[in-house]
Symmetry: C2
Subunit: 394 residues, 2 copies
């Protein structure tokens, strides 16, 4: 394993053809008070981020990537040559890829309230020497975006060529267009919504209850390596079902049984492959995610309702100057196509430049993360044309 300190730039030549290569996360430390939308405040915060490609002389070729609930800043490349997995959107981002790092300076930050390097409830409160836990301020999507803006200012970015994100990332994209209209040229939101719906709130609540009813949660006060691992795993298992589709799970697992369970038709242990897969999803999640962050971020999702926050969707979008592309996926039942189309329609009603594209997939909500030449074509076209000319699909 190389000494990562020797790597001077975030990105070095690719390990795999087309990739951004080995990347090193960096920390942006904001040392002034930050007031949250709730009125609560922190004396400062850290955002962990990665960048790929080079900022141009005009400082206006930056593309900000916003991650989803369980994502983080590591969206492309690998952290070491023997890294088993690349960043979560590596298929989309890289030299010559749809988000072309030969042309654009791409960056992504772990969200405020997160747990992968950015300040969140698992961070140490300097006042007590212990994790913030529930004393951490409530976070909103707008708080996340405002914190990202401070990072971009610090990096000297003059304007964003685009903000791109799916799911919770897509909500941030919309918030960016509203909050900093002169700063953003293109908004690309996928598999998202302008209003967290009732069913999505319901699933979030079940996940939170699984966490908060776990005795190890202890009102949010638990040691870094402990905590409500059981509850968090259950929350993740359930949430994972909502990220995929019946069809995709059926194709992947069907009713196949684990080899070990073939002889044993009657057991409450793992019997079907899909059970084993879900348990694995739960177990791997608890090793990388903080339960309190899960509470905070799902609550931020619940509270996201642009129409409610601004009076109407049209009022919310009134300041938007960017050109917008919204992409929905037919099999996404967490943020169904209609919720995505609604965004584009509201923007069009406000006289904004907006388009909606619907991709026919059977992979569910996670479709935006998966390989799709159609998606790459849409993204590339939207980013590279001077005035994005994607046609509106009504």
């Amino acid at each position: 394993m190389p000494d990562l300190d020797e790597v001077s730039a975030s990105a070095t030549p690719a390990v795999a053809p087309g990739g951004v290569g080995i990347v090193v996360p960096r920390d942006f430390v904001h040392s002034r008070p930050f007031i949250f939308q709730s009125g609560q405040s922190l004396p400062g915060f850290t955002l962990r981020y990665e960048t790929y490609g080079q900022l141009n002389a005009a400082r206006d070729n930056a593309i900000l990537i916003c991650h989803a609930l369980s994502g983080d800043h590591h969206c492309a490349g690998r952290h070491s040559p023997d890294d088993r997995k690349s960043g979560w959107w590596d298929n989309l981002i890289g030299p010559g890829r749809a988000v072309d790092t030969d042309r654009f300076f791409v960056l992504c930050a772990n969200c405020l309230g997160g747990c992968v390097g950015s300040t969140g409830p698992s961070s140490i409160d300097p006042g007590t020497g212990r994790p913030y836990g529930l004393s951490f301020p409530f976070v909103t999507l707008r708080d996340m975006v405002r914190a990202q803006k401070l990072l971009l200012d610090d990096l000297g970015v003059a304007a964003l060529h685009a903000v791109i994100g799916g799911s919770m990332g897509g909500m941030q994209v919309l918030q960016w267009g509203i909050e900093y209209p002169g700063f953003v040229r293109r908004l690309l939101a996928m598999a998202t919504t302008a209003r967290e719906g009732t069913q999505a709130i319901a699933f979030n609540e079940v996940g939170r209850q699984a966490i908060m009813q776990d005795p190890a949660w202890n009102h949010g006060d638990y040691p870094k390596e402990g905590g409500p691992r059981t509850g968090l795993a259950i929350a993740r298992m359930m949430a994972h079902i909502t990220y995929v589709s019946d069809a995709s799970m059926d194709r992947k697992f069907g009713r196949r049984k684990k080899a070990a369970a073939q002889g044993e038709a009657y057991t409450f242990d793992v019997q079907f492959e899909v059970e084993s897969y879900l348990r694995h999803q739960g177990q791997s999640f608890i090793n990388r995610f903080d339960a309190n962050s899960y509470l905070y971020i799902t609550r931020a999702l619940d509270q996201f309702d642009l129409a409610q926050a601004y009076g109407s969707l049209e009022a919310a979008f009134a300041p938007v100057q960017a050109e917008t592309l919204v992409v929905g996926f037919t099999s996404d039942w967490l943020f169904p196509p209609g919720q995505n189309r609604t965004i584009a329609l509201a923007l069009l009603r406000c006289g904004k430049r907006a388009a909606y594209a619907e991709l026919d997939t059977d992979l569910g909500h996670d479709s935006f993360l998966l390989e799709s030449e159609d998606l790459y074509t849409l993204v590339r076209g939207f980013l590279e044309r001077e005035a994005a000319g994607v046609e509106f699909c009504p």
Copy 2:
């Protein structure tokens, strides 16, 4: 409250117009060994059941109702005049109703493995004087049906005019047609499947994990009034979401906040009405359902796959003599319309008399339980015509 012992028949004149009135559950005690499909056995079992209407002289006007996972034998009438709620299918069953108790002798039994009077894992094992817990035999849908047949034999029922059920009840309906072809004239299965799908298994598994990871589960060994109440409530909250639809929850609750939470935008306590509703669903369920029964019955659902059990769906349906009506509901995403249609198509391929009807509702899986004149018309027509003439909707 009247002395229930004074009520001589199961059903007395209606409390509310059209209803079956006050009903008294009865117990059928089978005192001979019962061998389960797993090869395990019990020295005997009890089924709690209710009946409405009168068995005719030919003993062939009986209609068996099969309940769903969380249902029980109490499907019509009330147990006392001040009963707040009537049986779970009271809207369908009664004098002059779609399942007309003036014409038919209607009965319903709590399933084997259940926890509302029938023998299940919470029953006392006479050998140990303690609840069976995990020493209870694994139960299948076929076991449930075979136990019901013993009850019907005991009551002297000569033939079933129909077997009716939704969801798990619908699976039993299909199993009835296969297992006792000469005994059943009509099969009416709603919101069901011939094969528990991958997503349904996945949700069941998350529910089981919530129960089994609750320390109070204690490998299934817990006192009657204790047990994994937290885990069971979480399982139920999640399952409830799968019984309804995004549209119906949105209409019922939207993003409305509880009055108490209006001033408090930032809390992990109940904030949205839908959260309060789900918590209530969880809390009321744990007062009426046994966690081990939940494990056993969901496992029975997982194992239900007629094509796998008989080689093919056509092989499974080969012995069927009954006329079949399958009803799917457009908004049912737990057992979607296609899974219901598949049943009717397979029966037709076998040369059986079968029809499929699809009702356009936005109430989700639970649509089969809710008021619907269209459903009543379908049921009435199917039950009352000599040769049911419901048209096949391809």
